[in-house]
């Protein structure tokens, strides 16, 4: 039941993101009557911001950036982490040495510095956020996948597959990988959540989305000055919209984890 409710909420977010991507809400600006800082009213449910834009529409539009960052960064991180972890764990030897060296090195750079370096080198913008987040958050997954592959390398079904003379890539991807999938899925959820949270912080710091685009981080950045003057709705809207998505995914992850290990 819990899983159904929260899956539904996440689904709604994905749907909003897809609709915004397809052009919904894009022509909402009505330049003839701009009133800044309108409090919430029946016409503007969550009020307006300093440029007279509807805060509700802004928050909905920001869903696109959040979902896109979550999905695409996770896709990059999962692909890189899984492939490197699988090759290192199965092939061992120099491949393993190089991969281990790579993720130990990346892990040695404190995350905020690594991310700051990537964000600086690549600049602002959605695509650069995908790359920066994707290329910095694969190391934990890679460690886990590598350990599992080393363990499973000695399993009987792998020895049987090798004895049949199957190709290496087939053993890695068709035989061992499905047995590691549950770890990858959980870790993908963790990366999804952290990507969304980090995008908000990066945008807030001016290292993420360009000013003017719709992002919860930028809304909070706008709101930090407004809030001392009593205009709280921009802030509240961004916080609640982000909360709904992040909280739902976290609860789903926890439920999945419980299913795998019923004791905890």
């Amino acid at each position: 039941m819990k899983i159904k409710i929260f899956s539904f909420i996440v689904g709604v977010y994905f749907l909003i993101a897809l609709l915004v991507q397809c052009g919904w809400l894009s022509d909402s600006a009505s330049p003839e009557r701009i009133v800044s800082y309108l409090p919430p009213s029946p016409e503007y449910w969550l009020g307006t911001d300093f440029l007279g834009r509807s805060v509700l529409v802004r928050a909905l539009q920001s869903t696109r950036v959040a979902v896109a960052v979550g999905l695409i960064s996770t896709l990059i991180a999962v692909t890189v982490g899984t492939c490197l972890g699988a090759f290192a764990g199965y092939l061992r030897g120099w491949v393993d040495a190089v991969v281990v060296w790579l993720f130990t090195t990346l892990d040695s750079i404190p995350y905020i510095l690594l991310l700051g370096a990537f964000a600086f080198a690549l600049g602002q913008g959605l695509q650069n956020i995908f790359i920066a987040l994707g290329l910095t958050s694969w190391t934990t997954l890679c460690r886990l996948v590598r350990t599992e592959f080393i363990k499973l390398q000695e399993a009987e079904f792998v020895i049987a597959a090798e004895a049949q003379g199957l190709r290496r890539w087939k053993i890695i991807f068709a035989h061992i990988l499905p047995n590691v999938m549950h770890i990858i899925l959980i870790q993908a959820g963790v990366i999804f959540v952290s990507s969304i949270k980090i995008e908000v912080i990066l945008s807030y710091l001016g290292l993420g989305m360009e000013p003017g685009s719709a992002s919860w981080g930028l809304m909070i950045d706008d709101a930090k000055q407004e809030i001392t003057r009593g205009f709280w709705w921009n802030m509240i809207a961004a916080t609640i919209f982000m909360f709904g998505l992040v909280y739902s995914v976290q609860i789903l992850l926890e439920e999945w984890r419980k299913k795998r290990t019923p004791s905890s």
């Binding site: 750079i109 404190p110 600086f120 080198a121 909070i220 809030i227 905890s264």
Partner: protein, 311 residues
């Protein structure tokens, strides 16, 4: 033991080289021409050219990398591009402020996390445990930025309990500026730690020695405080050690927002002004601290448990 030491030292050395290599590649190759970054979009080609020469960016890339590598080993990071001060001096000036914020804040959050996770694990699957667990998830779903903005608004602006912004050069008056950021830091970093420590404690809970202790008739309190906490301390220590280096770089958000002159604020300023030597130095210094702490952790672990040498 000495073989283990040599092995660990050698691998640490390769990681230092790796860190400098990745940092260098990011700034000098992925990021495009650093002189263009620094000069800005509207600079004329002549200006960029003269800057390139002035900053030593017209040397071959390999030479530049070795200059950078030698900087890491001699601890002389050159001069900042934006204010022409020695980078080493800049680091020394800012590190104190970062540590005055992060050290007490981090200690507070670890102590609180251990106590809360113990309280939750002791009442596993009760109303209290589930409530705490959900509170953690709720708190983790709100952006760190929001905590900072709201706490400043409520406790500094409205209630006037703390100063809104600022810093004092004397240690005695500094604490009033530190208190609020310190509380925000420890509270915002509390929930993930509680979840992790709780999981570590519960994992121990299932082991045979706990059942033996229960069968012997020991009280729950004794089992938790003596047996389980001792065995669960290794993952907790590992986590604490792995996060120690982040304390040196401080908290970018808090320092920028409360005007604390620490390394985090320095990082943000140098990113905004494209001050490459400072960003590179910060990245490598942060990593060096991590590598040293990790090395210390491995040695301590090997000293406590000889099996560690096999890893």
């Amino acid at each position: 033991m000495s073989g283990f030491l040599v092995k660990k030292l050698l691998s640490a050395l390769t990681i230092v080289v790796g860190v400098t290599f990745i940092t260098f590649c990011l700034f000098h190759i992925v990021g495009g021409d650093p002189a263009l970054h620094y000069a800005g979009k509207n600079a004329s080609p002549e200006v960029v050219q003269s800057l390139r020469h002035e900053l030593g960016l017209d040397k071959p890339v390999v030479t530049q990398y070795f200059i950078f590598l030698s900087q890491a080993f001699t601890w002389d990071w050159g001069t900042s591009w934006s204010n022409h001060r020695q980078v080493t001096q800049l680091l020394n000036d800012h590190i104190g402020a970062s540590l005055t914020l992060t050290l007490p804040a981090y200690t507070l959050s670890v102590v609180l996390a251990v106590l809360i996770s113990l309280a939750a694990a002791l009442r596993k699957d009760t109303f209290v445990d589930r409530g705490l667990l959900h509170l953690c998830f709720i708190l983790m779903s709100i952006s760190f930025v929001v905590y900072v903005v709201f706490a400043q608004k409520i406790f500094a602006f409205d209630l006037n309990w703390f100063p809104v912004y600022g810093w004092d050069t004397s240690w005695i008056y500094r604490w009033s500026y530190i208190l609020l950021p310190c509380f925000i830091y420890s509270l915002a970093h509390l929930p993930p730690k509680v979840l992790l420590f709780r999981a570590a404690l519960l994992q121990e809970l299932e082991k045979d020695y706990v059942r033996t202790a229960q069968a012997k008739g020991l009280s729950t309190y004794t089992i938790y405080s003596i047996h389980i906490l001792k065995n669960a301390s290794l993952p907790i220590v590992t986590l604490v050690m792995s996060q120690l280096p982040t304390l040196i770089t401080g908290s970018v958000l808090l320092e920028a927002y409360f005007g604390i002159p620490g390394l985090g604020g320095l990082l943000l300023n140098s990113i905004q002004s494209s001050d490459l030597p400072v960003i590179k130095a910060l990245t490598v210094v942060g990593s060096l601290f991590y590598i040293v702490v990790q090395l210390a952790h491995d040695l301590i672990a090997a000293f406590l448990d000889r099996r560690w040498e096999l890893t």
